[in-house]
Amino acid sequence: MRPIRPTNQRPSRKNGPAAFLLLAALAGTAVISPGARADSASDHRAGMATLTDLKAAITSIVQANDSFATDRNVYHRASQRAINALEGTHGPDYRPAAGTPGDALGAIGHIDALLHRKGTPVWAAPLDSAEANMRAAAAYLLDASHARSLIRFQLATSRALTYLEVARGRPTEVGALGGMEGTLANTVLGVPAGAAVENGCSRPSSAPSYGVHGGYLAWIAVPASAGTHSLGETSGGHSLIVEHGVIVLPTAAAALVAKACRTHAAATPEPAPRNTAGPAAIPAMAIPTPANRAPPALYTKAQAAAGARLFAVTCVACHGANLQGTAAPAVAGTDFLKTVEKNGWTLEALRYLVFNNMPFNAPRSLSPSQYAELLAFLLASNCYPAGSKPFPAADDPAFAQLKLGPVPGPHPNANQFGVCPTG
């Protein structure tokens, strides 16, 4: 899900996003399963690169603030550099002229790549939240990059920094509040390539090694011999255990893992104490993560069936019987939805395109109710649920707020393209 542009919005409460994202963590789908293996070295590298890009964005702003420059271009450029570090060279707001302190993918690009997979690793929820916060920060940074006065720059960047600090997180936290640092300190994402991985339910049998259980990192062990032993990432533990010639650093996730180990069953961990903040505390800037919002029912089954018949006559020649496109683009399925989400399409954007520009050689040649049926068919094919209310023939202003993207949850009936049947 994508942020709303923050221009003209009231400042959020200082701890607003943090409080909200904690709820996201509670709704997370992470399940500890015994025997889960450490993820690949490339995941770890991507995780580390995300943090590096994120830090580069923060540094860019902090340095500009510390420069006491009188030239506004210094501030504009710093904001743009931070955006570039976050979004990478393919981001919508990327401008090469300012320079790129991060790498080509950018922090958001790395997270997108990490999250683009089947299954939901335990680190998916905090990364999702970190991305949401980075996007919110990028929106404020965009304001900062046009700021006409120092005070406006500082207002915009201080908001951006709030989000970026939450995205960076801290190693003492497990879940959304841990951000990137917490994820690297407490999950398998923090295990470097080639490192020895052991069962996190037991004590280490060798050192150096990493104790992992159910995707969480319970401890790091280093030899107690004389010399310098490097640690992969900052550890969030509170204590050191020295035993049998090994120093064990329990992570912040150690208690969580210990409890899961005791129950033996593949239990859902209790990631963090429950926060009492209700939905009322969610500020306007809050960005829901995809996992915790049920997709709305926007059409009826009868409409979708009528739309399917219409599609077979009017659209199939270019968009293909399997909806994957022949001369024209795909209009349903995994690839389509991923692109739609990346481009930030709202339901209104899709509706407008279909109602006003299709069919290509005869736009606006169908009736509004026929176009509504086609939209119903497209939503059904993209695994959005049917309901009792028909898709309207007239425009609905709420559609401009409804972001499209992959519908969470399993879709057992979807075909190999990720297209759901409409029957």
């Binding site: 060279t89 020649a317 481009n343």
Partner: protein, 557 residues
């Protein structure tokens, strides 16, 4: 083999005779060594090489003309199918096959690449890419150079494959915004003799999706950028004042068709696409340079320099870009032999300019034109041709024997609507309206235009549009494919159709000629009509239209 050194050996022969001689011998050895791809001097001599077809329009001059004469007006009636090839892809075929030393390289709508035996159509290797499609699935072909096959993809990659094996050598995202930019054009290899730099010239398709056009020279070794020339001038550059405010940022003027080069002067002739938003002129008052223009760029230096431009349609509001690749030729105007450049646009005009100065020589309206000066409105209005009419990208050809320009055209009309405002949405059309609704009959012509006068020598009328471009042979034939699927051969002097063959698919691709073991072949691709679909086309048994097919023809056995 270093192409740069070969070329130096080939052209810079100012040294004493003995040195020159040794260089030529060495060059011969180099050619024998590099069998898979043409070298820089092959490109300079492409026009006179009847066996190979190594650039989309035959040679740097952009003129699809072959000096092969085996197939001629007296025997063309015996032309028959030599082979067909059915690629495993959907979507229209718009490819200009590249043929070198008996191998033909063909691309399909979703960026599959096939290396075929040019004598039999048998697959030597294939490469399959199925990129995300932004709007139109099409690939116009490959560039062949330096041992590699180069092609741009629908998701903005530039990819190098080993020409002998089809294995990937490198693959790089080279567009700046993948949400609205992609490639359909074939990369054009070029060696700059002044700087010694090899390059691939490639323009981006982003002119209906909110991009700003550019032509970029890429290093064939790794895809790095050598230079990039933006087709819409930025702040401080001449022409920027033809765009109000920030409109230049999404001004379009994509360079998506083909690159014509005069190697003698190192001039690149480019046709640039329509301005954006396509149908809402009110938000961009002004001429909107260099949209709908031909530009002549000096590419001898480290960066291109604009020599001249000629804007065919200032402030276009109908997506009438000049999509025909410029043809550079020496033709007779009055009694004078002059260096000329010809082009055509989707508004149905054929233009002939002085190639050195860019001054207009003649302008021939070749399609039915109606109500062209009225901008689309909210309520809508009619104009002709529509966005698919006029002269299309497959283009025309010049025949020096008859001093004639052969250009296929379409008569199609449309009903156009604009919107109150144009909103940019990443990955969508940026139109400020809608593409025109087809209105009335859709027909086509083959035109023979006398360069001396700009007047028709003859015209042939078809019941269906005539997209297939033109191929002229030195023996006095002009080949062209009709959208209905017929590949036709005309007598250049009379316009009589001497041969016709139904390929079974709709033709939206150019025709080419080549030779294997001294035997002449004619080749054309056909398949589904894609964007060119019109109600008059025969119904296909398959919902997605006829299967894509490449058809090659020859005489005897």
């Amino acid at each position: 083999m270093a192409l740069r050194e070969q070329l130096k050996a080939g052209v810079a022969c100012l040294a004493p005779v003995a040195l020159c001689l040794s260089a030529v011998v060495w060059l011969g050895a180099g050619t024998a060594f590099a069998q898979d791809t043409p070298n820089a001097s092959d490109f300079l001599n492409a026009a006179s090489d009847a066996a190979n077809w190594i650039l989309p329009h035959k040679s740097y001059s952009g003129n699809p003309y072959t000096n092969a004469t085996e197939i001629n007006p007296s025997n063309v009636g015996n032309l028959h199918l030599a082979w067909t090839f059915h690629p495993a892809d959907t979507g229209p075929l718009e490819v200009s096959p590249i043929i070198y030393n008996g191998t033909m390289y063909v691309t399909t709508a979703h960026d599959h690449v096939y290396a075929l035996d040019a004598a039999t159509g048998k697959v030597k290797w294939s490469f399959t890419d199925n990129p995300h499609v932004i709007a139109f699935a099409a690939s116009r072909g490959v560039g062949l150079f330096d041992g590699n096959v180069y092609f741009g993809t629908l998701d903005g990659h530039l990819i190098a494959l080993n020409a002998a094996t089809g294995e990937k050598v490198w693959d790089k995202v080279t567009v700046t915004d993948t949400a609205n930019s992609f490639y359909t054009m074939a990369p054009v290899p070029y060696h700059n003799p002044t700087t010694g730099q090899d390059m691939l010239l490639l323009g981006v398709s982003n002119g209906d999706w909110g991009g700003r056009g550019n032509i970029t020279a890429f290093n064939p070794k790794d895809g790095s950028v050598i230079w990039k020339w933006h087709t819409v001038p930025g702040p401080g550059q001449p022409g920027n004042n033809t765009w109000p405010g920030d409109t230049w940022k999404r001004g379009g003027a994509a360079a998506w068709t083909g690159a014509t080069i005069d190697p003698a002067t190192q001039t690149l002739y480019l046709n640039l696409g329509n301005p954006q938003p396509d149908f809402l002129g009110a938000v961009r008052p002004g001429a909107n340079l260099y949209s709908d223009s031909i530009v002549a760029l000096d590419i001898s230096g480290a960066k291109p320099k604009l020599k001249w431009y000629y804007q065919f349609i200032p402030h276009d509001t109908h997506d009438w870009d000049p999509v025909m690749q410029p043809i550079l030729f020496s033709g007779k105007v009055g009694n004078q032999e002059r260096q000329l450049v010809a082009s055509g646009d989707k508004a149905g005009n054929v233009w002939i300019l002085d190639a050195t100065t860019g001054k207009l020589i003649s302008h021939t309206p070749a399609s039915f034109q109606f109500n062209q000066n009225t901008e689309p409105s909210l309520a809508g209005n009619y104009a002709c041709p529509n966005t698919l009419g006029g002269v299309e990208f497959e283009g025309g050809a010049f025949d020096p024997a008859t001093n004639t320009l052969f250009v296929p055209t379409q008569n199609e009309c449309g009903f156009w609507t604009s919107t109150k405002d144009a909103v940019y949405v990443a990955g969508q059309f940026y139109l400020g309206g809608a593409f025109p609704k087809l209105v009335g009959p859709d027909t086509g012509q083959m035109n023979a235009i006398d360069v001396a006068t700009g007047i028709f020598n003859w015209r042939h009328y078809f019941n269906l549009p005539n997209y297939g471009g033109a191929l002229v042979t030195a023996s006095g034939l002009v080949f062209s494919g009709n959208l209905g699927g017929q590949e036709n051969a005309f007598d250049t002097r009379t316009g009589n159709i001497l041969w016709s063959y139904d390929t079974g698919g709709f033709i939206t691709a150019p025709t080419e000629s080549y030779e294997v073991n001294g035997k002449q072949y004619v080749v054309v691709a056909s398949g589904p009509a894609g964007n060119a679909s019109i109600p008059e086309l025969p119904q296909s048994t398959s919902a997605s239209g006829p299967a894509p097919v490449v058809s090659a023809f020859t005489l005897g056995h």
